[in-house]
């Protein structure tokens, strides 16, 4: 900007030297040139900021001015050339527009292209991730490989296929082992049971021996029950119980109450029923086990003179019962062999319940509210 002023000064000097006249700028030049007679002889130049009155726009503007001196016809004149900064700012603005806008546009295009590229590039990876998450050792569906031309991903893919098949076969082996072990244990258990029955017939049986026998019977029946529960888990896992039919759930529940009535009466439990006639397409056996577990749980972990509320609607079944102790861990209670110290059960009842619900794709939830245990099963 200062250069422009210098140039203007030169022009003024040339003009005055050539035409013997004082140069007046054209209006379009947007310059203000003022002349003043002076006695000063020095030729010093001053360049500085100033505020001046723009006669065109009728307002004060900021500007830059250059002060110097010239000689015309032997007179000394002081020349002040003032250039408006506003004009200049506008110029800068337009320059910026011309440069920055395309740059910005370019940047945006670059970003979009990048995004699109990355997305399509990582697509197989994302699909792979979804497939890995969907993979379940418990289900028969094999791991779905993803088709991709990217070497790293196809390597990952094949590594996971190997891994999944290994995990599956190991899991299957463990299940088979559990099943076989449990079956093999049944025969010795049958032997123990029959020997106990034989001993019981002895005429020499006294009070002491009878007490021993009672304990042995209890231990054997517990071991049997444990074994049966393990087998049940394997069976549900293997989807061996698929004798589905339409069953009126409300009636099944009423029948179960009759089955358990002595146990309910003994503990003086009150049963509140709200049963809507609901029919489900379900395996008879699974339903049997499901209800047995819910009932025995609600009866066993109850207080004397407590209550059991059973709510059945078309969408859910809720068992609520009063309890000895407070709420239980909502996640841990469904783990195998998790039980509180007072429980005489196998610790498998609730995990069987959970397994059945998983198998039937029902949602099973436990909550503790208003001093009641709630077991909620949502049919979906």
């Amino acid at each position: 900007m200062d250069d422009q002023l210098e140039e203007e000064l030169l022009e003024v000097k040339q003009y005055t030297a050539g035409k013997n006249n004082l140069y007046q700028p054209n209006t379009f030049e947007e310059l203000v040139i003022q002349y003043k007679k002076t006695a000063e002889k020095s030729n010093t130049k001053i360049i500085a900021d100033t505020v001046f009155y723009n006669t065109e726009k009728h307002q004060m503007e900021t500007g830059r001015y250059l002060q110097s001196a010239i000689t015309l016809n032997g007179d000394r004149y002081k020349v002040s050339i003032i250039a408006s900064k506003v004009e200049n700012e506008e110029q800068i603005k337009s320059i910026l527009k011309v440069i920055i806008l395309p740059v910005l546009a370019l940047l945006i295009i670059l970003l979009l292209v990048n995004r699109f590229m990355i997305r399509s590039l990582w697509n197989p990876f994302k699909q792979l991730l979804i497939n890995i998450k969907a993979f379940n050792v418990n289900q028969d569906v094999p791991f779905k490989p993803v088709k991709t031309s990217i070497k790293e991903f196809s390597d990952l893919n094949s590594a996971f296929i190997d891994l999944s098949s290994k995990v599956k076969s190991d899991y299957k082996e463990i299940k088979l082992f559990t099943e076989n072990a449990s079956h093999e244990m049944m025969t010795p258990l049958a032997v123990i049971n029959s020997k106990l029955d034989t001993m019981l017939q002895s005429h020499l049986l006294g009070r002491e021996e009878s007490e021993l026998l009672t304990d042995m019977y209890k231990a054997t029946s517990r071991l049997t029950k444990l074994n049966q529960s393990l087998l049940m888990l394997v069976k549900i896992d293997n989807n061996l119980l698929n004798d589905q039919e339409d069953i009126l759930i409300s009636r099944a529940i009423e029948e179960k109450i009759l089955h358990f009535q002595e146990l309910i009466l003994k503990r003086k439990l009150t049963i509140h029923l709200h049963l809507e006639p609901t029919t489900l397409y379900i395996s008879q056996q699974l339903l049997e086990i499901l209800l047995n577990n819910l009932f025995s749980n609600a009866i066993r972990h109850n207080i004397d003179t407590g209550s059991i509320d059973i709510n059945l609607t078309a969408t859910e079944l809720i068992f609520s019962n009063t309890s000895v102790n407070g709420g239980l861990d909502e996640v841990k209670i469904f783990e195998r062999f998790y039980k509180d110290t007072t429980s005489e059960g196998t610790g498998l009842g609730l995990s069987i319940l959970k397994q059945i619900c998983n198998r039937l794709q029902y949602e099973l939830k436990y909550t503790y509210e208003l001093n009641l245990h709630h077991f909620i099963i949502r049919f979906s």
């Binding site: 049958a190 017939q201 006294g206 004798d243």
Partner: protein, 225 residues
């Protein structure tokens, strides 16, 4: 009665044998498929106890063989495997009942008797014990020809004890008989006590003698005198 025990586990076979003999039955034992095959072919039995897994063959093959020979023997399958398919296959091949190991000897004997009753008396199966008479088909109990009302569970229990006359039945066995697999409930043993008490009261009120005898808290015996 003549009963064949097909079971490869020697000690279990021995216990069953002993129990059945003490009830006055005639028993044969077979530990292998071939042995069993010969006995089935040669003799007629009232009931065959059939283990499904034998060292040299499948028990179900023996069942097929029996049916092919048109034998009238009753068949009770005793198996360690509690698979629905196997149960259905066994029963559809003509077995009369299916008992899963482990079982109580009293349960086994009650089932054998039920099979024989069904086969031999064709529905008219009354069990008479002095003044007591029960009809297992109609589920009726009569004392001196007078009907006494029994609940389903009480009736089952009475029939169970009468099938195993003069044998001690443990509370554990009785509980399994009534409640099945749910019998592990903490106080199901007490219920047997309550049920027996009720049965005794109903019978003695109707003028029947008290045949139940408690054995030191471990079980009960249904016996004369």
């Amino acid at each position: 009665m003549k009963i064949l025990i097909v079971e490869d586990e020697e000690s279990l076979q021995k216990s069953i044998h002993q129990y059945l003999i003490s009830e006055g039955n005639v028993c044969d034992c077979a530990s292998t498929y071939n042995n069993a095959y010969q006995k089935i072919a040669l003799y007629a039995y009232d009931c065959v106890l059939l283990d499904l897994t034998l060292p040299d063959g499948e028990g179900l093959q023996l069942l097929k063989f029996l049916k092919k020979m048109n034998k009238a023997d009753g068949v009770l399958i005793i198996s360690a495997r509690d698979a629905v398919d196997q149960r259905i296959e066994g029963l559809s091949l003509g077995a009369d009942d299916y008992l899963v190991k482990p079982f109580h000897l009293s349960e086994l004997y009650a089932r054998i008797l039920a099979i024989i009753r069904r086969r031999q008396f064709n529905g008219n199966d009354r069990i008479i014990f002095n003044e007591l008479e029960i009809d297992s088909q109609a589920m009726e109990v009569k004392v001196n020809a007078q009907k006494v009302y029994f609940t389903r569970k009480e009736f089952d229990l009475l029939l169970y004890f009468m099938s195993n006359k003069s044998k001690v039945i443990s509370k554990s066995a009785a509980a399994v008989h009534i409640w099945g697999n749910e019998a592990d409930m903490a106080d199901s043993f007490d219920f047997i006590y309550t049920h027996i008490k009720n049965i005794r009261k109903k019978l003695t009120d109707a003028g029947c003698k008290d045949y139940f005898h408690s054995i030191y808290g471990v079980g009960y015996k249904f016996v004369e005198s």
